[in-house]
C-alpha cells in the first residue's frame, strides 16, 4: 500500500519553480531515503506533504486520502529544517504542549516515555535554548513522535549530531520502523548514513523526481563490471569472444580486461584456467554508491 503518493505536484515561489510535476510513491513500511542537492526541493516537498505549504498544483494522497479534504488529526510526525521548540521552555513543557495539541490521553506519561526514548530523561528544567544542537534534534524527534504517527517526515535529522549521536538516532529510526511499523521519509546529504537505513530511495533534481529505486537496485546498478587480470591479455580476449560472445570486453592497460554485461565470474575463471591462462585477479568492480547518487542528482 502507498502511504504517500503525489501526482504532478508543483510549487512555485513567485516566478521560481521550486518543485515541478513531482511524482513520489512511498510504500508502507519503507525507510525512504530522499536525496538531492542543496535547493533541489526536498524541504519544499516535505512541507507540502505535511500541510505546511500549499501546492501550486497537483495532488497529494496520504494514507490513500487526498489531503485537500483532510480533517481531524493526522497520523504524521515531522522534523523539518529545525525542531521548532519554544526556547524558554523545558523539554518536558515543549512535549506537553504537543501532547495536549494532539489530544494524547495521558500526556504526562507520554511525555516522560518520549523523553526516555530519545535519551533526554535527565535534562530536567533546562530551557531548550540552552540545549546543544544534538539535544534539540532529539527533542525534535520526540515531538515528531507525539500522537502515535504512522508516517515520519525527517528533514536532515542527523544534522549537528556527533558520530555517536548519529548512530543512536539511526538506531532509533530503525527501531521505530521495525518494531512499531512506522514509515519514514528521511532526507540527508550524507549518503553514507542513509545507506545504513534506507530500503528505497527517491532522487530529486531541480524540483523533479529523477528516479525512485530500491536499495537492491542501487547495489545492482553499482556493481558495474568484472575486472580480469591475466598473464596473457590477448589470448584471454580471444577466449572471451569465443565463449562469451554476449559480453563486452575492453582491453585495459597492464594486461587487464574490463568485462561488461551480466557476467558470471565463476564461469569466466573456469574458461581461463581451461585455456591455460593464469588469472591473477578476477573481481566485481563496484562503482562508488556516492558517485552513482551524485551523478543522478546532477553533480559533477
Amino acid at each position: 500500500m502507498n502511504i504517500v503518493e503525489t501526482h504532478m505536484l508543483s510549487k512555485r515561489y513567485g516566478a521560481k519553480a521550486a518543485v515541478t510535476a513531482f511524482n513520489m510513491q512511498v510504500h508502507s513500511g519503507d525507510i525512504y531515503g530522499f536525496v538531492g542537492r542543496n535547493g533541489a526541493g526536498k524541504s519544499t516537498v516535505m512541507k507540502m506533504l505535511s500541510g505546511l505549504a500549499t501546492p501550486t498544483s497537483g495532488e497529494i494522497k496520504l494514507f490513500n486520502k487526498s489531503i485537500r479534504h483532510a480533517s481531524g488529526e493526522q497520523k504524521l510526525g515531522i522534523l523539518i529544517e529545525n525542531p521548532g521548540l519554544y526556547p524558554s521552555m523545558s523539554a518536558y513543557d515543549n512535549l506537553m504542549l504537543k501532547c495536549l495539541c494532539a489530544g494524547t490521553v495521558n500526556p504526562k506519561k507520554t511525555t516522560n516515555q518520549l523523553l526516555d526514548f530519545v535519551g533526554l530523561a535527565n535534562v530536567d528544567k533546562k530551557q531548550s535554548k540552552h540545549f546543544s544542537m544534538g539535544m534539540k534534534q532529539r527533542l525534535g524527534l520526540a515531538l515528531a513522535l507525539v500522537g502515535d504517527p504512522q508516517l515520519l517526515l525527517l528533514d536532515e535529522p542527523l544534522n549537528g549530531l556527533d558520530p555517536e549521536g548519529v548512530r543512536e538516532i539511526r538506531q532509533l529510526i530503525i527501531k521505530l520502523n521495525e518494531e512499531h511499523g512506522l514509515t519514514v521519509i528521511i532526507s540527508s546529504h550524507v549518503l553514507e548514513q542513509l545507506g545504513k537505513m534506507a530500503n528505497r530511495y527517491g532522487i530529486i533534481r531541480d524540483g523533479q523526481m529523477v528516479c525512485e529505486i530500491t536499495a537492491e537496485e542501487v547495489t545492482a546498478q553499482c556493481s558495474e563490471y568484472l575486472h580480469l587480470e591475466t598473464n596473457d591479455a590477448n589470448k584471454a580476449l580471444v577466449i572471451m569472444q569465443e565463449k562469451f560472445p554476449n559480453l563486452k570486453c575492453i582491453a585495459m592497460p597492464q594486461n587487464a580486461i574490463r568485462i561488461q554485461g551480466f557476467a558470471n565470474a565463476a564461469l569466466i575463471g573456469e574458461a581461463m584456467s581451461h585455456a591455460g591462462i593464469a588469472v591473477s585477479a578476477l573481481y566485481t568492480h563496484n562503482r562508488d554508491i556516492e558517485d552513482f547518487f551524485v551523478e543522478k542528482m546532477g553533480g559533477n
Binding site: K47, G84, L100
Partner: protein, 282 residues
C-alpha cells in the same frame, strides 16, 4: 479545538509571559495609585488654601466642592468608573499589557517554529484561528477584571472615598472596554499572521497600544479636514471615549462605539484568518 485551547492555556500559564505582564500591570497600577495619592493631597492643600474645604470634611458637600474644581484633580467623591479610567484604562496599563501579551503569545509560536508541529497534525487552520481568538478574548476579560479589582483595592487602601457606580453603568463600561480592546488585539493578531515577524509585530503593538497611531491619525484628520466627522471612525476615538467613562461614551454615542468596535474586530479578524489560511508555514 478543545485540544488546541488546552495547549494554549498550558503555555500561557507555564510560560513567563503572563507573569511578567501581570507584574508590569501591578507596578503600573501601584504607580498610578501613588500618583493619585499625590494629586489628592495637592488638591486638598489647594482647596484648604482657597478656604473652600476644611481638613476634616468628609461629607456630602465634598462632592460639590470637587465638582466646582477641575474634575481631574480631586479623587475623593468621584465615582468608581471615573477613577478606574484615570488610573488604568486611559492611563494605559491594561491596554498596553494586553496588546503586547496577545501579540507575543501568537508570534512566538510562528517565530520558533512550533507552529509546524501544530499544523502538521491538523491541516484545518480554522480551529487554530478560533482557539487563538478565544484565548485572547478570555485573557482580555480576565486582565480587565484583575485591574479593576486591583485599582479599587488600591483606592480603598489609600482611603479614597469613591462613590459606587451603578451596576448597569459598570456592565456597559466593561463591555465597551472589552470590545474596544478586543478590536485592538484583532488588529495585532492580523498583523502577526500577515507579517509573521516578531519585531514588526511588537513595534505595531507598541505604536497601537500607546495611542501613537491613534493620536497621529486624529491630528491628521483635524489638520486636513477640520470639522469632518471621520475621526469618529477611528478606533482610537472610541478607545478614548470609553476611557473617559460615562461622559465620554455619551459624547461619542453608544452606537458609534459599538459599530466602530465591531467593524474593526470583524474586518481584521477576517484579514487575519485569510492570512493564516493562505500563507505557508516555515
Amino acid at each position: 479545538m478543545i485540544n488546541l485551547l488546552r495547549m494554549d492555556f498550558y503555555r500561557l500559564l507555564k510560560g513567563k509571559m503572563l507573569m511578567i505582564g501581570i507584574c508590569i500591570m501591578v507596578a503600573m497600577i501601584a504607580f498610578m495609585t501613588g500618583m493619585a495619592v499625590f494629586v489628592e493631597s495637592e488638591a486638598a492643600a489647594q482647596l484648604i488654601a482657597d478656604g473652600t474645604l476644611t481638613v476634616t470634611t468628609q461629607n456630602t458637600s465634598s462632592s460639590d466642592v470637587t465638582d466646582s474644581n477641575s474634575s481631574q484633580t480631586a479623587i475623593t467623591g468621584s465615582d468608581q468608573i471615573k477613577y478606574m479610567n484615570a488610573s488604568f484604562f486611559a492611563g494605559g496599563s491594561t491596554s498596553i499589557v494586553l496588546c503586547i501579551l496577545a501579540t507575543l503569545f501568537i508570534v512566538t509560536e510562528f517565530e520558533c517554529g512550533f507552529a509546524k508541529n501544530v499544523f502538521s497534525i491538523r491541516f484545518n487552520r480554522g480551529a487554530y484561528f478560533a482557539s487563538k481568538v478565544i484565548v485572547v478574548f478570555v485573557l482580555t476579560i480576565a486582565l480587565m477584571l484583575f485591574s479593576i479589582a486591583l485599582s479599587l483595592l488600591g483606592a480603598t487602601i489609600c482611603g479614597f472615598d469613591l462613590v459606587a457606580s451603578p451596576f448597569s453603568e459598570w456592565v456597559q463600561w466593561f463591555c465597551l472596554g472589552t470590545l474596544v480592546l478586543f478590536a485592538y488585539e484583532l488588529i495585532l493578531i492580523a498583523m502577526v499572521l500577515i507579517t509573521r515577524n516578531k519585531v514588526i509585530a511588537i513595534i505595531a503593538a507598541v505604536l497601537l497600544s500607546f495611542g501613537i497611531i491613534g493620536n497621529f491619525l486624529t491630528m491628521l484628520i483635524t489638520q486636513l479636514m477640520p470639522g469632518s466627522e471621520i475621526y469618529k471612525g477611528i478606533l482610537f476615538t472610541s478607545f478614548m471615549a470609553v476611557g473617559n467613562g460615562e461622559t465620554g461614551i455619551e459624547a461619542l454615542g453608544l452606537t458609534v462605539i459599538l459599530t466602530v468596535g465591531l467593524a474593526y474586530a470583524l474586518v481584521f479578524g477576517i484579514a487575519g484568518f485569510i492570512a493564516l489560511k493562505k500563507r505557508d508555514v516555515y
